[in-house]
């Protein structure tokens, strides 16, 4: 079988937010934007579809959703058509799986999409379904269910061990809401001030309203193919998938690998492998989309992805090193804090932003960006999934 370079050639998003539309409707909106981006692509060129979604069986009441979406968007997959679920990282997992299929020759042109319909007529269903995302038997039985208590502990431990402050957490929210203010496909477009973040109502202290990603409906889609086909289909600069990795562990009770909850050993493990497979290091990354499900997450990610020293994530963010003009801009399209987080869609949204950044056509462009990184955290910090993109293979 061949060993081919794999490129991302198009990306699309539905409108994200509180939607009066089904998950299938939103998948179609995202796919349409994808098709519009690559006019030379004929629908029959697409031989595979991976759709990342975790709650489609619950809140959208549709299992085996990939064939339904294939039919709705008018494609007839012949290589692989399936759903992918690693909760918050499903989209990135789909991109990694599609890369393998295309690289090996088992597929030629694949759409990787993802999405969730989380606002259901009974809105409380959304939140309570979250219980299924943890080690149900043990952690769930104690009443752990929703993410904020877990990330509150993470924030407190980080504050205690490294002196991270609430203002530093707030700086992440201010930056990402500013970046998201011009991304009209995202959930929120209104900037927030440091004072507004600091005085917002508490969710689980020290996390308050603007420290937390909202519940959001939405879908995203990207197109992947091999290098030669990408040249044939698109005149835009080529963007390659250079490397990737995912590190997993399990429940809080059993297996937390770090010294404390602010020490994400498994993220460092994933990052090491991702950098090795991409043949780059953290200093080579020009732009990153990292999983800011909570403000504290982005701070720990700066450290354990190697962008700054361990424990210095707070000052790194506060001094603007993760903003435009700093060491590397992070979450240039607003991240989860602005765009929202329809779980399976998030990794695909990040890939779309990375495509735009590396082709020089992002809404908030990082000048001359050549290498970009996307990162997802899933569940209660059980998995870290990283994809590295580049203008060279």
């Amino acid at each position: 079988m061949p060993d081919r370079n794999v490129c991302i050639i198009g990306g699309g998003m539905s409108q994200w937010g509180v939607r009066e539309a089904s998950i299938i409707d939103m998948a179609q909106e995202a796919a349409k934007e994808c098709f519009d981006e690559v006019p030379a692509l004929k629908k029959e060129d697409i031989d595979g579809l991976l759709f990342a979604s975790s709650y489609c069986g619950r809140s959208a009441f549709q299992v085996n959703i990939a064939p339904v979406i294939a039919e709705r968007i008018g494609i007839k997959p012949t290589s692989m058509c399936t759903r992918v679920d690693t909760l918050c990282a499903g989209g990135s997992a789909g991109i990694i799986l599609a890369t393998g299929l295309i690289k090996s020759g088992l597929a030629d042109v694949m759409m990787v999409a993802g999405g969730e319909k989380l606002y259901t007529p009974q809105r409380w269903e959304t939140y309570y379904s979250e219980l299924a995302s943890i080690d149900h038997d043990w952690d769930g039985a104690q009443g752990m269910g929703l993410p904020p208590p877990f990330f509150s502990m993470t924030a407190q431990e980080h504050m205690k061990h490294y002196g991270t402050t609430k203002e530093q957490l707030a700086a992440v929210s201010v930056k990402n809401r500013r970046n998201g203010s011009t991304n009209l496909k995202g959930h929120f477009h209104k900037e927030v001030t440091l004072e507004e973040v600091m005085s917002a109502r508490p969710i689980v202290p020290p996390l308050s309203l603007f420290d937390c990603t909202p519940i959001t409906d939405g879908c995203a889609a990207v197109l992947l193919t091999y290098e030669e086909k990408a040249k044939e289909l698109s005149d835009r600069p080529l963007v390659y998938i250079r490397g990737a990795a995912q590190a997993s562990l399990h429940s809080m009770s059993m297996n937390w690998p770090g010294e404390h909850l602010g020490d994400w050993v498994h993220l460092r493990t994933a990052a090491k492998r991702a950098y090795e497979t991409a043949r780059v290091g953290p200093d080579d990354i020009d732009v990153a989309e990292t999983h800011d499900c909570f403000t504290i997450s982005e701070i720990v990610e700066m450290e354990d992805l190697g962008f700054c020293k361990k424990g210095e994530g707070g000052p790194f963010v506060e001094s603007g090193q993760s903003d435009f003009g700093g060491k590397l801009p992070v979450n240039t399209d607003g991240g989860l804090l602005s765009c929202g987080h329809p779980f399976g869609a998030t990794g695909v949204r990040q890939a779309r932003e990375m495509l735009y950044q590396l082709q020089g056509r992002a809404i908030r462009q990082v000048e001359g960006a050549e290498i970009g990184l996307t990162h997802n955290l899933s569940g209660l910090n059980v998995e870290h999934t990283i994809v590295i993109y580049g203008r060279e293979p």
Partner: protein, 136 residues
């Protein structure tokens, strides 16, 4: 008996580690240790996750641990609405990490990270049972 009476809401009714519940009813919080490779696990595992052997021993978690982190839950998930507010905590014991609620006997003002803890069974309303941390 199985896990049907475990926790405020139980999710597992059939599992191989059901001896855990028999011990819990008898007042003991038990973990497993693999006879083949020596790995200890809590929550207990009837089959060893490290070497996959099914030859495991039960042992009681008797010693004192330390509170590593905790959080106050004001908004409980389905089935826990009437429990909230409650405190979830991580305790570090000898070679084992335990995630459990902090006993309501401990006043919030007395909670200190690093404080000494023991883990013990707790009877819940409606004939249910779980384990929780008490002052050690």
């Amino acid at each position: 008996m199985g896990f049907e009476n475990f926790g405020t809401v139980s999710f597992t009714t059939e599992a191989k580690a059901t001896d855990f519940m028999t011990y819990l009813e008898a007042g003991k919080v038990m973990a497993t240790r693999c006879k083949k490779c020596g790995a200890s696990y809590f929550p207990p595992k009837a089959d060893c996750p490290r070497c996959l052997s099914s030859d495991v021993d039960w042992f009681e978690i008797k010693g004192k641990g330390k509170l590593a982190s905790y959080t106050l839950v004001n908004y409980g998930p389905t089935g826990f609405e009437n429990d909230a507010p409650y405190i979830l905590a991580l305790g570090k014991f000898d070679g084992i990490q335990i995630f459990a609620r902090l006993s309501r006997d401990i006043e919030e003002k007395d909670i200190q990270v690093g404080m000494s803890l023991v883990v013990s069974p707790v009877k819940l309303p409606d004939n249910r049972i779980a384990y929780e941390f008490k002052k050690g």
